[in-house]
């Protein structure tokens, strides 16, 4: 069985996980936290880094997520719990898929029918779902440098336009703005939950929990710098800029002469995002496979069914994106802290030693 190396895991946390926060989240943060948008994001990163620290500590026990649950609750209860957890992962995949679809449609293929523009993603996702989750380690090795190149390229073209003074005065949005921003951002921070199905697929090494949390914070620093640049460029208009990372670089002076060279970096990040968007589906399927045991056609079959479902959902919800965001990051946002913060912390209370199976 392929193992994910610690390096690959750090790559995921530092380079791949941040890309999902560059599309719709910046404008959403501005809508509630205004120029204080950095603070809710920073808080989310700190809390999530803590949860990641807890998940990585669980890796010391050398068991996968299902085994951890089974060790404490028994097979039937563990199957039910992991089933509920996989449902959460499938649920958390919806928002990134919808934003990805709208972004691809709006930024790249505005003259193509939306159904055609994004449908190849689902074929790609089915392929990824058919592969074992541990194979993602190699993928992260490849896409992490692409994410870095894409990010640096976009930032180099963007920073010069930004007026960072727009971020002042600190605290203008007040406590309520900060709180609203923190709550609305929660649906984009489920990286700790994504790590739980990876347990047992990598070996714990000394200091891994701290290094993993630091790698995640490093990615967080990159996201926060992007948010600052984004607000520096658009200020009061930021709320209206739905697909943030496609917008910031177009004011670079050389673009009038060279054309939209920034698209090269935008496409690079979009490619990384495609892997990131498929990950919750893959992780959810892996949870089911952990409970059901290795069955030959289970992964591809689940992949086909789920991707068909997402295909239908993204098409149905095409014009209801704001309602979906309002529901997921508003009404039922509590689901995210429960699964992404509470579950990792509570997992530390699970039985440490392997139970003797009679």
């Amino acid at each position: 069985m392929n193992k994910i190396s610690s390096r690959q895991l750090y790559f995921f946390l530092a380079c791949v996980a941040p890309v999902g926060k560059l599309v719709y989240l910046p404008s959403l943060l501005v809508s509630s936290a205004k120029n204080d948008l950095l603070f809710p994001a920073a808080l989310q990163y700190l809390v999530q880094a803590g949860a990641i620290f807890c998940v990585l500590l669980l890796a010391k026990r050398g068991m996968n997520f299902f085994e951890l649950l089974e060790n404490t609750f028994g097979r039937i209860a563990a199957s039910i719990l992991i089933g509920i957890f996989s449902l959460f992962l499938f649920y958390s995949a919806l928002l990134p898929l919808l934003e990805q679809k709208l972004f691809v449609q709006s930024a790249f293929y505005d003259t193509l029918p939306s159904l055609v523009a994004f449908s190849p993603f689902f074929l790609f996702a089915v392929y990824l779902c058919a592969k074992p989750l541990s194979s993602m380690g190699r993928v992260w090795d490849i896409i992490a440098p692409l994410a870095i190149a894409g990010y640096i390229g976009i930032m180099l073209l963007s920073v010069g336009t930004a007026d960072f003074g727009a971020l002042r005065p600190v605290g203008a949005a007040g406590g309520s703005g900060f709180w609203k921003g923190t709550m609305s951002a929660m649906s984009w921070f489920f990286d700790a939950a994504l790590l739980l199905p990876l347990l047992g697929k990598f070996q714990y090494k000394k200091g891994m929990a701290a290094k993993g949390a630091l790698a995640y914070l490093l990615g967080g620093a990159a996201v926060i710098f992007f948010l600052a640049t984004f607000y520096g460029i658009f200020a009061e208009l930021s709320q209206n800029q739905l697909f943030a990372f496609t917008k910031t670089s177009k004011y670079f002076a050389g673009i009038t002469v060279l054309g939209r060279i920034d698209y090269l970096f935008i496409f690079t990040l979009a490619l990384v995002m495609a892997f990131y968007c498929a990950l919750p589906i893959q992780a959810g399927i892996d949870c089911i496979v952990q409970a059901a045991g290795p069955k030959k056609y289970l992964r591809p079959a689940l992949g086909i069914v789920l991707c068909a479902l997402y295909f239908a959902l993204t098409d149905l919800l095409d014009y209801r994106f704001t309602e979906v965001v309002r529901a997921i990051s508003g009404t039922v946002v509590w689901i995210f802290p429960v699964f992404c913060l509470l579950v990792p912390v509570l997992c530390l209370l699970l039985r440490r030693r392997r139970r003797e199976i009679s």
Binding site: Y109, L112, I142, P169, A235, L237, R260, Y263
Partner: protein
């Protein structure tokens, strides 16, 4: 060693494959599916206020046939009226059968009537339109914007192309024009200062023989008046409404205060004779102080050289670009006068062109809460203009 192992684990073939995918995606953006026969590529739009709403004039690029091989851009202007700008766009679609595409729109002209009411109403459609580039230039037109856009340029194929040329980098550095994009204007208007500025376009009939300028709308034979455009004046806005017009001297003074000028010229006097000076270095500054009454410090620090005298001069003087002290003193007095007039115009108009409210807001929320409604009317200016020449 670890790094070497890492490099070995990364399959180069996959890298190459990914690179090919990215490059393919890059170079096939939209897969070229912009059907020129069904799409109206709008180069510029003009918005005017009408009794029942708005009138939108769209300047649409037309593919040139093989019989006209002069190169350049042909265009046709289509006008439509409606209750909102969106209505006008829909009517253009129904009139022409072409889908109006704003992706390449590089200029929005606002008529004087539209500028005098809340312009954000006119611009609402463009701010909402995801496919409208917010780097598009905005300007106010003298009279009706539609007429300005439909006029025949003496210098270019399309009026919009001639107008956007007024906003070149070189023109900005001259300090004579202050171009503003949709993004910059909107940030100014939506910010705490609620103020912004736009260039004001005037047109003048080109005197002399009127031969075709390259065939805008097809083979002009001199029956239509040809125009040349200027943008040396600047319209200033408060709460979305045009409240005053800065003449060319004040536009230049504002450019100097922003520190944008390089190689721009202005004229001082040597006794009674005019002397034109070139700006080599421009440091401008606007700062707000409370001592305890509010004072805005408008400061200029210029390095200049002599560009041209209005009188004949001996050859020793021609080879030198040194500026005599009396001319420097006069230059300081001229510029102080420009800035003083600029401050008076801005204060009288109620606009916050210097973004002082924003400065105050960014510096202290407490002070902002205390002063925001009262400090602009009681504001005093402390003007300093220092002009030096090369030693």
């Amino acid at each position: 060693m670890k790094f070497r192992n890492f490099i070995k684990t990364v399959p180069m073939k996959l890298y190459i494959l990914l690179a090919i995918i990215v490059l393919f995606a890059f170079f096939s953006n939209d897969f070229g599916l912009v059907d020129i026969q069904k799409t109206a590529i709008i180069l510029a739009a003009a918005i005017d206020k009408t009794e029942n709403g708005y009138s939108l004039t769209a300047q649409i690029a037309v593919p040139k046939g093989s019989d006209r091989t002069t190169g350049g851009t042909s265009s046709v202007e289509i006008e439509a009226e409606g209750a909102t700008v969106s209505d006008c766009v829909t009517r253009i679609y129904s009139k022409t059968g072409w889908v109006p595409k704003f992706v390449f729109c590089n200029l929005i002209l606002l008529g004087e009537d539209a500028a005098e009411e809340d312009v954000m109403r006119s611009l609402n459609y463009f701010l909402r339109n995801e496919y409208m580039p917010d780097s598009c230039l905005l300007a106010v037109s003298e009279g009706k914007a539609g007429e300005m856009l439909s006029s025949q340029s003496a210098l270019d194929d399309a009026s919009s192309l001639a107008i956007t040329k007024l906003f070149s980098d070189a023109a900005v550095k001259s300090g004579k024009v202050l171009p503003t994009t949709l993004r910059e204007f909107s940030i100014g208007c939506f910010g705490v200062s609620e103020s912004s500025h736009l260039p004001f376009i005037r047109s003048a009939t080109q005197k002399g023989e009127q031969s075709g300028a390259g065939g805008s709308g097809g083979g002009n034979t001199g029956e239509e008046e040809q125009k040349i455009y200027s943008a040396e004046e600047t319209a200033i806005f408060s709460r979305g409404k045009m409240v005053a017009l800065l003449p060319r001297e004040q536009t230049f003074a504002y450019s100097l205060l922003l520190g944008k000028v390089f190689s721009g010229t202005f004229t001082a006097k040597d006794g009674e004779e005019p002397v034109t000076l070139t700006v080599l270095e421009n440091k401008g500054g606007v700062s707000l102080k409370f001592e305890p009454a509010p004072v805005v410090k408008l400061s200029l620090n210029l390095l200049v050289r002599l560009c041209c005298r209005g009188t004949s001069a001996p050859i020793d003087d021609v080879v030198s670009d040194h500026v005599p002290d009396n001319v420097l003193e006069n230059a300081e007095s001229v510029l102080s006068g420009y800035i003083s007039d600029l401050f008076a115009t801005v204060k009288q108009s109620g606009s916050d062109l210097f973004f002082l409210k924003r400065t105050l807001y960014r510096s202290s929320l407490k002070k902002y809460a205390l002063w925001k409604d009262s400090f602009l009317p009681s504001l005093r200016a402390d003007i300093t203009a220092e002009v030096k020449t090369k030693k």
